[in-house]
């Protein structure tokens, strides 16, 4: 970290810097052109100078006007097309990204690795593969920002947002909260530690032995009494959760909804929102009962339940 240079540590950073540089050169040229004309005219046509000031034929002003309007328009059209196609390429989430969960609260970042390791204000991640952060906030809006990756994503309460990056170089990078979130907004900073795949495996192994995220979730599943309805042989007619994640769930009101994390979250906190076809809406809401920290492993657990053959 120094005052003149920001490392390019992700594939996105390379793409973004290319665009930035191109725009910088282009607008530099435009700016110089405008300044050159303004200064040039100012000198040449200063009051009383000898320069010729003949009439301007009407067609000149007309053609010129249309000319630069059309030119600017098409230039902008091209710029838009070029930058947005780069963006659309970047934003397609890779199918099997490595998933890490982030819960933000005033004023800290809580990280839950898939292995169950928890971190605060630090995020370890492997280099070279796509990593998907699934993030939510316990209170206000925060923003997970890593300048070296040229990436950021707001983290909202009541909802999951995602950010996918692929780090290119191992190293330690600054993590900022970029969305104003109250008193200690400027202290909500941390670091992202990128390790090579092997080092990452080492690092995980070196952490104190603990349950994986899904295993922690199973415990919460049991202690919250979910099994009483969703378990084998329960008295209540509740949908089985095996193989639910990633499937398309038919709804009581007609239509389907794709069962992603947001769906699972809503199913637990706002069960009336999407009632699956064929079931009575009797599931209680766990809003206020389960914290964001507990939801993360719980959802990880439900995701891990594979369909029974």
């Amino acid at each position: 970290m120094n005052a003149f240079y920001l490392p390019q540590a992700s594939t996105q950073a390379h793409a973004e810097d290319r665009i930035f540089l191109t725009l910088l050169i282009l607008s530099g040229v435009v700016l110089l052109l405008v300044l050159a004309l303004v200064i040039g005219f100012s000198i040449r046509y200063r009051a009383g100078s000898k320069a010729r000031r003949g009439p301007l034929p009407a067609w000149i002003s007309h053609e010129v006007e249309i000319g630069w309007t059309v030119a600017t328009f098409f230039l902008f059209l091209f710029l838009f097309w070029w930058t947005i196609s780069a963006q659309l390429r970047l934003q397609i989430p890779p199918a099997n990204a490595f998933e890490i969960h982030v819960v933000a609260k005033q004023w800290m970042w809580k990280v839950q690795q898939p292995s169950g390791v928890r971190e605060i204000n630090t995020l370890h991640a492997p280099a070279g593969i796509p990593v998907k952060l699934v993030m939510t906030s316990q209170d206000v809006i925060h923003s997970f920002a890593v300048p070296a990756f040229r990436l950021k994503q707001d983290v909202l309460p009541g909802r999951y947002t995602e950010m996918t990056f692929q780090a290119t170089q191992p190293g330690t990078y600054q993590l900022f909260c970029d969305q104003y979130c109250g008193l200690d907004h400027s202290a909500m900073i941390g670091k992202v530690v990128i390790l090579s795949a092997a080092d990452y495996a080492h690092w995980i192994a070196a952490q104190p032995e603990g349950d994986s995220l899904a295993a922690q979730g199973e415990a919460i599943f049991v202690s919250s009494g979910c099994g009483g309805c969703h378990g084998q042989g329960a008295a209540v007619h509740a949908p089985p959760l095996e193989g639910l994640y990633g499937s398309d769930v038919p709804l009581a009101g007609g239509g389907f909804v794709h069962a992603d994390e947001g769906f699972l979250r809503d199913a637990i906190l706002q069960p009336r929102k999407n009632v699956p076809a064929g079931y009575e809406p009797v599931m209680p809401s766990f809003q206020g009962v389960l914290s964001e920290d507990q939801l993360v492993p719980l959802i990880a657990y439900i995701k891990s339940l594979k369909a029974k053959p």
């Binding site: 005219f41 200063r46 009051a47 000031r53 008193l183």
Partner: protein, 560 residues
């Protein structure tokens, strides 16, 4: 007030020496209850000056705090309150009203040949509402201030902030209605009170600018009012509106807020564009290049400006597809701005350019607005915005346009019409000196912030990692120059009021109806109703061009 007004004889007998509007009553009541658009302009000018310096004082404290990385000059709480105060005051109590309510109020009726605005009493009411909003803001300050940022994002503003959100939001709500009424008034004035012969395409560009601005004010501000009302209700009555725990959506607030606040940036820049067109034409002694294109550009900015607000929400969790649409429209809305920059430049071509103080401010505008606008284009590009959103890059972008652009233009206009408003001439040397120091001080302050932003320094940080210090030191030092430069006009303009030379009716040899009446104008603006017979900016025979320096304008647009 009415009874103090000079009981003149019937207007048919023109008297050469009508008292100026300044001499028309000297009591306090004759000012604060006046319905004279010119006096109301002065009232506004004084009020916004006060708020400019309140906002400037907050900026000063911010820059002192940021001088070193771990400064404890201010606590985090104080710092958060200061940048919020700075943003709220500068936007709603200074920049939004700045040009429209001062120069606009003063000049709109003069430029179209009217006696006053369409609804003089409503005009006065606008100012009183402004005062009401200002009073609430002061109440908020006294109660400890507000710490949400000028954007009032939920759920922080509704559920978490321990500060005086209510008074601040109410203040902005009230001042919003002041701006709506001003807009209504100006639109009605432009439509209804143009002098005979003043067709739409004979209107000076400043009038067009004010007209376009008024449309934006009228159609955008109510949405801000409602979004703040919802914030207040949620905060006071705990009625969930944006609260995600009960199914609300915090992003809805952002949609509503930016539906206003993006158009609001055009409220802030369109009047500036109007001023610049007047000043450049007059100082270059040339017809404005592409008058009609300038008009269409302003109107299309006013309209398309309503469809781009989502570019403030690229990383907010809005749908990426919506971001595509908003990015596209942000490029489109930049086209008319580009046209304007090119037209101003082309107006200089083959002119007889003078460099009086207003022109220096105007040239400053041209450069700084272009830099600000071009960086706006960077931000309209999604991958770049993802990188620099909520960093100092944004702060630099908008200060370049709002301070470098609009405030410079405000000063350009203030100097240009100062003789008309006050009947006095200021010291040209000091004015030029201030213009140049403002330009230099400005770049010194805000250019480093582009670099800071690119390196990733987040905005609204009261302490920051060490590596950013050098740029912050530069920026803070520049702010000293800037502060001095802003204090200069206060001094020499005040001085001119008492000791300045008297100005004649048309010290710049400019076209436009406002220059055909006395400086300062009489209460009823014109001795006789003007009649307009030709296009604006008739500085030279279009078939010849301005051949001599200081050639007086052709007297075709004048009183009958």
């Amino acid at each position: 007030m009415r009874d103090i007004e000079t009981p003149q004889a019937a207007p048919q007998t023109p008297e050469p020496a009508k008292p100026s509007y300044l001499a028309d009553g000297h009591t306090v009541a004759s000012w604060i209850f006046t319905t004279d658009h010119k006096r109301i302009a002065i009232l506004y000018a004084l009020s916004i000056t006060v708020f400019f310096f309140i906002g400037g004082a907050a900026a000063t404290l911010i820059r002192i705090q940021l001088f070193t990385p771990h400064n404890t000059f201010l606590t985090a709480g104080q710092y958060n309150r200061l940048f919020t105060l700075h943003g709220v005051v500068m936007v709603w109590f200074f920049l939004v009203p700045s040009i429209p309510t001062t120069l606009g109020n003063f000049l709109l009726p003069l430029m179209i040949g009217a006696k006053d605005v369409a609804l003089p009493k409503i005009n006065l009411l606008s100012w009183w509402l402004y005062l009401g909003g200002a009073a609430l803001t002061i109440v908020c300050l006294v109660c400890g201030g507000v710490d949400t940022g000028w954007t009032f994002y939920t759920p922080y503003s509704t559920l978490y902030s321990n500060s005086c959100v209510l008074a601040a939001a109410a203040g902005v709500f009230v001042v919003g209605f002041s701006s709506i009424l001003t807009g209504v008034n100006f639109i009605a004035t432009t439509h209804m009170l143009r002098a005979p012969g003043m067709t739409w395409f004979r209107l000076p560009l400043f009038v067009w600018a004010i007209y376009a601005t008024s449309i934006v004010m009228v159609l955008a501000t109510p949405v801000l009012a409602m979004s703040l009302l919802l914030v207040m209700v949620e905060r006071v009555f705990s009625i969930p509106v944006f609260d995600p725990r009960f199914g609300g959506d915090p992003l809805l607030f952002q949609h509503l807020f930016w539906f206003y606040s993006h158009p609001a940036v055009y409220i802030m820049v369109l009047p500036a564009m109007g001023v610049i067109s007047e000043v450049i034409a007059s100082e270059a002694r040339r017809r404005v290049f592409g008058y009609q294109a300038m008009v269409y550009a302003m109107v299309s900015i006013a309209i398309i400006g309503f469809m781009v607000w989502g570019h403030h929400m690229f990383v907010s969790g809005q749908s990426p597809f919506a971001s595509v649409v908003f990015s596209f429209l942000s490029f489109i809305v930049a086209v008319p701005s580009a046209i304007k920059v090119f037209n101003w430049t082309a107006t200089l071509y083959r002119g007889q350019i003078r460099f009086a103080a207003p022109m220096l401010y105007a040239l400053g505008f041209l450069g700084l607005f272009t830099v600000g606008g071009l960086t706006g284009l960077f931000l309209a590009v999604v991958p770049i915005d993802v990188a620099v959103h909520d960093t100092y890059f944004i702060v630099a972008h908008f200060h370049y346009i709002m301070v470098g652009g609009t405030v410079s233009a405000f000063f350009a206009g203030l100097h240009y019409w100062w003789p008309k408003i006050t009947g006095r001439l200021y010291s040209e040397w000091w004015a030029k000196f201030a213009a140049i120091s403002m330009f230099l001080g400005f770049n010194f302050t805000f250019f480093p912030q582009f670099i800071l932003g690119y390196l990733g320094m987040p905005r609204r940080y009261h302490q920051y990692p060490d590596q950013f210090q050098i740029w912050n030191v530069l920026s803070s030092s520049g702010a000293v120059v800037l502060a001095v430069a802003y204090l200069l006009p206060l001094a020499y303009l005040t001085w001119s009021l008492f000791a300045g030379r008297r100005a004649n009716a048309n010290p710049w040899d400019a076209t436009g109806l406002e220059w055909t009446t006395a400086s300062p104008p009489p209460r009823a603006n014109f001795e006789t109703r003007p009649r307009v017979t030709s296009a604006p900016y008739d500085y030279h025979d279009p078939d010849v061009g301005p051949t001599q320096p200081n050639q007086p304008p052709r007297q075709t647009q004048a009183a009958e």
